[in-house]
Amino acid sequence: MKNKVYLDYNATSPIRPSVIEAVTTAMSVVGNPSSVHAAGRSAKATIEEARSKVAALVGSRPRDVMFCGGGTEANNTVINGAGASSLIVSGIEHDSVLAAAKVAGIPVYTVQTNVDGIVDLGQLEALLKEAPEPALVSVMMANNEMGVIQPVHKIRNLTKSYNARFHTDAIQAAGKINIDMPSLGADYLTLSSHKIGGPQGLGVVILAPTAPLKPLVVGGGQELGRRSGTENVAGIAGFGVAAYEALVGLAGAKAMSDMRDDLEQRIRAISNEAVIVGEGAKRLPNTSCIAMPGVKGETQVMHFDLAGICLSSGSACSSGKVKVSHVLSSMGYTDELAESSIRVSLGYDSKPSDVDAFVAAWKALYERVSKKA
């Protein structure tokens, strides 16, 4: 599949070559990190080195980093383990937050967003007054479908004044924008390895030094008792390298947003009808959610697939289901428009020629359907 154009980095990112090397090296070393013999201690050292690297990506202390089996598990752990009496979530959260909240057994309040995808702070404050204390507020740092960045500092100030705890799902934000856990002051922050070029099957919860956390998985007491189970040593080693590369890669954010802006401008030049979702807000440098009114997202995705371009009509998790994106609905878009959107997401390996291929394919489809109409 070498000649395919991959524009679905928000679903999963190709693994970086340096990560593959770290994983392979760690794979060939035997040892259970809980064993006290030399083989075990060396596995443990591998984990701790990676922990420091992941901590560095968000500026936190290594001991506040808890490894687990993925972003979904990380989000579920926080939603269930923060000891909250109520939950306030935004309507545009990832399914792993929304679904976990639904079954958490405590009252759940949903805060809506404006048409740019920014959380309504007035409504959030009203909900904070109403929700039983202590509440846990979960608002993602940046959205996976249209890339809008939330005013997390303002949200943190609000939650602080109402004694609520604050969780931010930074899975899509990591490696794309700067994250500084201490100055942000969130209680919980979650990350996923495979969205930043690391291996699949790994996530972390990063805690504020004072944040409580009840474990979801109990047993041998690994990860300071917060998450039992033998650690995925090789995967963690790879995650560490990916975190380091992501931190270094932040320097390329401007080049990436230039590439994305160029793509959007060229789409605009082709059609006045195209809608770029969340355009009025601050967005991740790599994400573009583009609607071609009147043409179903699935039809577009098929067209692009035939042209050798991989992208999706929403998040990968909902792409198998035939339903309208809850994110676009929450922003107030009509079902019709939401159904006609696709997501383009760039990554560390994207080239201007990928953008050219996309624009050409978009133009071909647009001209074909406009002629018919």
């Binding site: 030399a38 075990g40 979904t72 699949q200 047993g219 995925n232």
Partner: protein, 384 residues
């Protein structure tokens, strides 16, 4: 011969080179999110996961759709115990397990007990075996779930799963077995043994760490509450993007273990016998913990009366061995498993677990025996 010699196969096993080779493409060119149903990158990894599912199912005569991939046996054990009690506990508030289970089973069971469910922890005899008559008495129509491990991680004894299955089925309860140490090593048949749930670990069968599987018998009677909600992967029972590289690795590891099971059993049994006889000749007072017959040959748990196990471990620096379960090895104090089979505290403190497996050689074991004898003599020899 590479030193230190790795003799801790119960803690974890080396990754089989053949497994790593199959995994590699999924780290590089085959990187797609298996849930991306809109393009070929996703289809490719999704298909690979289905193939692995079939391989994992074959080992235990299950159907592929009865296999749920997750992050490891600890997660599988937590999911079954908490998940089943959550669904069935209102009608049937009773849960049964055994004193020598892995810590994650016991911890999950105590968690359920704190929620108000009734918990029975069955004792074992000095061989490490449960009493079937006692099991029959304890399991009633109030019992939702019985969780008994197939092969013990510390002493290697094999519980009679088929007899246990009959008793549990007759009482109308569900049977879960933690097969982390048994899967791919001894013959397991979920229908023949009437097993409803089985926990499987990747890194105990020469596969990668961070992946495991749960066998869940098809049907509504085995419903359980998922621990992880989200994108609805693994038929809604375990949300989260699957790790295709790890899942493929588990599949290949399962396939290899299955096809080489008989041969490996024979080889390990012979090697273990030779090792224990060699050691007993020089150290006549040593004790083999757990049943001598119904055991997995790869696990040799020995007590050296009069010797401090921690001192012994630290004086055989050329051997990677353990004085108990890996999870417990950072915690001092005698093993609760040895305590449960009635080993005295002093003997428990003098015990060592020697785990052998696919890549162990006679040469390594001869070296280990010599090292142990020298170290024990230097520490003053065995005291009866």
């Amino acid at each position: 011969m590479k030193q230190p010699v790795y003799l801790d196969y119960q803690a974890t096993t080396p990754l089989d080179k053949r497994v790593l080779d199959e995994m590699m493409p999924f780290f590089s060119e085959k990187f797609g999110n298996p849930h991306s149903s809109t393009h070929a990158f996703g289809w490719e990894t999704d298909a690979a996961i289905d193939v692995a599912r079939e391989k994992v199912a074959n080992v235990i005569s299950a159907q592929p759709e009865e296999i749920i991939f997750l992050s490891g046996a600890t997660e599988a054990n937590n999911l079954v115990i908490k998940g089943v009690m959550d669904v069935w506990g209102k009608k049937k508030p009773h849960l049964v397990t055994v004193a020598t289970e892995h810590k994650c089973v016991l911890e999950a069971a105590y968690y359920c007990q704190r929620l108000g469910y009734n918990l029975t922890v069955l004792p074992v005899n000095t061989e490490g075996m449960i009493d079937l008559e006692q099991l029959e008495k304890v399991v009633t129509e109030q019992t939702a779930l019985v969780s008994i491990m197939a092969v013990n991680n510390e002493i290697g004894v094999i519980q009679p799963m088929k007899d246990i299955g009959k008793i549990v089925k007759a009482a109308g309860a569900l049977l879960h077995t933690d097969a982390a140490q048994a899967y791919g090593k001894i013959g397991l048949d979920v229908d023949d043994m009437a097993i409803d749930f089985m926990s499987i670990s990747g890194h105990k069968v020469y596969g990668p760490k961070g992946v495991g599987a749960l066998y869940k018998r098809a049907g509504r009677h085995t419903a359980l509450t998922p621990q992880m909600s989200g994108g609805g992967q693994e038929r809604g029972l375990r949300s989260g993007t699957q790790a295709p590289a790890l899942v493929v690795g588990l599949g290949v590891a399962a396939e290899i273990s299955h096809s080489e099971m008989g041969q490996e059993q024979g080889r390990l049994a012979k090697m273990a016998d030779r090792f224990v006889s060699k050691l007993s000749k020089d150290l006549p007072g040593l004790v083999l913990n757990g049943s001598g017959k119904k055991r997995w040959s790869g696990n040799i748990n020995l007590s050296f009366p009069g010797i401090d196990g921690d001192l012994l471990v630290s004086s055989v620096r050329n051997l990677a061995v353990s004085s108990g379960a890996a999870c417990a090895s950072a915690v001092s104090g005698p093993s609760y498993v040895l305590e449960a089979i009635g080993v005295s505290e002093t003997n428990a403190k003098s015990s060592l677990r020697i785990g052998i497996g696919r890549f162990t050689t006679d040469e390594e074991l001869d070296f280990a025996a010599d090292e142990l004898v020298t170290a024990i003599n230097a520490l003053g020899g065995l005291k009866a």
